[in-house]
Symmetry: C3
Subunit: 138 residues, 3 copies
């Protein structure tokens, strides 16, 4: 059964959600797989992956504000040598998770109408983030 892998690089410039649904869709379209399983894996401990509504941009802003509140900066962390945004970034990464799995049916991800795939950057400074995409199927 064929496997395919690809590393997707996303350049970030501060805390934000970066949608990359189209890039994944285009890669899948270039591969001859009808039915299978797609996995996306983020190789970092201060950036993460999530699926979120991609229609209203206010949803993304509310999501980022909620992440600020739920794992705030300057909250008495012992690990504070890499800047006030570092430990909250680790916490938000664990909360949202490093990987996503999406079944592929009829050659396409089974995403719902409003579901978009996002990289969440949790650090304040620019980074280049690597997401490994893996699909197996036939």
């Amino acid at each position: 059964m064929p496997h395919h892998t690809k590393t997707i690089t996303i350049s970030t410039n501060g805390k934000a959600l970066h949608e990359f649904t189209d890039e994944v869709e285009q890669w899948l379209a270039s591969i001859d797989i009808e039915t299978g399983l797609l996995t996306l894996f983020c190789r970092h401990t201060s950036a993460s992956l999530l699926i979120n509504e991609n229609a209203a941009s206010a949803v993304q802003r509310d999501m980022l504000r909620w992440l600020e509140r739920i794992a705030p900066e300057h909250d008495g962390y012992e690990h504070d040598t890499e800047g006030p945004d570092d430990m909250p970034a680790h916490l938000r990464t664990v909360l949202t998770g490093a990987s996503l799995q999406i079944p592929v049916v009829d050659g396409r991800m089974v995403l719902g109408t409003w579901q978009g795939i996002y990289l969440a950057e949790h650090r304040a400074n620019p980074h280049r983030r690597q997401v490994v995409a893996h699909v197996m199927g036939e």
Copy 2:
């Protein structure tokens, strides 16, 4: 290697946890797979999947109350055009996640004794939710 997919539809009627472990088990039993990987994927941004204790019903009620507190309604959201339960539903969906992966060994999911599979409905109004089940193995 065989793949199998099935769409499970769950009708909801307000915020609740809906266990559907039995439905997944019955589907798996109808398929000739001894060893493999099961993926469940929820096609929505205001309902999600989780594994939780299925013995004491009070656990489910405490879980729902905790979700209310951790992503409360009326918390100053910018995105408020679809009702006060909408943005919290997106947040709770990201917190709990859209997919579950469970290995299959000897033809059965390797769930622990107390683990049940739940759809978490985060919206107040009735919905019909689609969960795509995918298994591959041999």
Copy 3:
């Protein structure tokens, strides 16, 4: 396509993060798979799996303190018959999740430089925790 499964048992002695990256790496090295998908699944509702930075031990301590705050003990739970740490353990398990998926490329997990695999024990008393590892590939 080959499948391999293994049950990893981790003995715990109170709330802590237990890294077991090496054990997974050694198991993978003993198997002849070049490209594939690894899944780790925790068979419990009061212990969970997560990927976290494994360089600074203070990160793990901050993570545990954050989990205490986000799902605290003695928070008015209805389910309190199994001790004050039980219901928070269920909540922290749902927050962090029961499974991890990591692509395998060139015979190794594609973990980033700082990513370690952890079992999070959320109960105060000693337990023996089972994590089922499953890999398929070729």
